[in-house]
């Protein structure tokens, strides 16, 4: 193994924060860092995605009595104070400025409190996780790219290279049926990839290494949840 270069951890808070209670299905927010290869112990190689999960804090607790539902709000992604609106800042109060907030429904919120920490140590190698992210934008795409329609002939005066074929019958029904697949915007969708394996969990550096690919571009925000 090569020399162990230590990555300094970006601690978001000077004061030590309490650990949030365990969740039945731990959830953590992170940022896609990029991909590399991973050698398993048996020597096989898998494609892996690195997720940075630093500064996950409980930012609010929703209770059945007060809000009508039980949930924990988790914040991620520290930014400069001036990057947030006064309202966002006020919601977080004394917590660091966290740009991304998500709520997780939990059965029991007892023990949860604002400011508690959620770290990568909730995941262990071998765990199966679902990852939710926003896919890369592809722009307005034609039917061939979007729905895998066949293309028309390239030559002999074809005016049909990448067009779709007929969109319906004639006078009856006299309209195009709803939901017919046509050219449309593609990408920037919420996508869930299921059952990825946790290859490495590094609480010290706040990193998760998962098997396979994860939706979205580098630096995009993803949600990792135990399957």
């Amino acid at each position: 193994m090569a020399e162990e270069t230590t990555i300094e951890t970006t601690t978001t808070t000077a004061t030590e924060r309490a650990e949030a209670p365990k969740m039945a299905k731990p959830l953590i927010l992170g940022r896609k860092v990029g991909m590399l290869q991973h050698f398993r112990d048996d020597g096989s190689v898998v494609a892996a995605t690195v997720i940075a999960v630093e500064s996950n804090l409980v930012t609010a607790v929703r209770t059945k009595e007060k809000d009508g539902y039980a949930a924990v709000q988790i914040g991620f992604g520290q930014v400069a104070d001036k990057k947030m609106s006064r309202g966002e800042r006020g919601h977080l109060k004394d917590l660091p400025a966290l740009k991304h907030l998500r709520e997780v429904r939990v059965d029991d919120v007892s023990g949860f409190a604002k400011g508690q920490r959620i770290g990568a140590d909730r995941f262990a190698p071998g765990d199966r996780v679902h990852v939710v992210g926003t896919s890369k934008g592809k722009g307005f795409q034609g039917p061939v790219h979007l729905h895998h329609f066949s293309r028309g002939p390239k030559s002999h005066g074809s005016d049909h290279l990448r067009r779709q074929g007929s969109v319906g019958s004639g006078t009856t029904p006299g309209r195009v049926l709803r939901g017919l697949r046509m050219a449309a915007h593609q990408g920037v969708d919420r996508v869930t990839v299921k059952n990825l394996e946790v290859l490495r969990a590094d609480p010290g550096r706040s990193l998760l290494v998962l098997s396979g690919a994860v939706p979205g571009a580098r630096n995009s925000i993803v949600m990792v949840r135990k399957a």
Binding site: T5, L36, V45, V50
Partner: protein, 117 residues
Amino acid sequence: MPMNDVLKTLASEQQKAEVPEIRPGDTVAVSVRVVEGNRERLQKFEGTVLRVRNGGLDEQVTVRRIASGVGVERTFLVHSPRVEKIEVTRHGHARRAALYFLRERVGKSATLKEKRR
């Protein structure tokens, strides 16, 4: 901490500390871990390096040898734990990066001159 540093650091943790410099045309002996049933042994694969694909952790070498009259090419991931050791036994003189022309050659014409030091 910049993003690329994270990837580089994670990659370097999986990389082997010492890997000899391998160039196209070199003759190398690659010791590979082979699992037979529940027994593991080392197998040597010795031949000429046709091509080296650099890429840090993903570095690959393609080795060609003539085994029982048949040309065999194997591509190894240099940093794979299954590759126990790579020894360079001879430095061949090659003027290109991919020596695919060796595939058409047999016998003496498939050998490269020793590199002048």
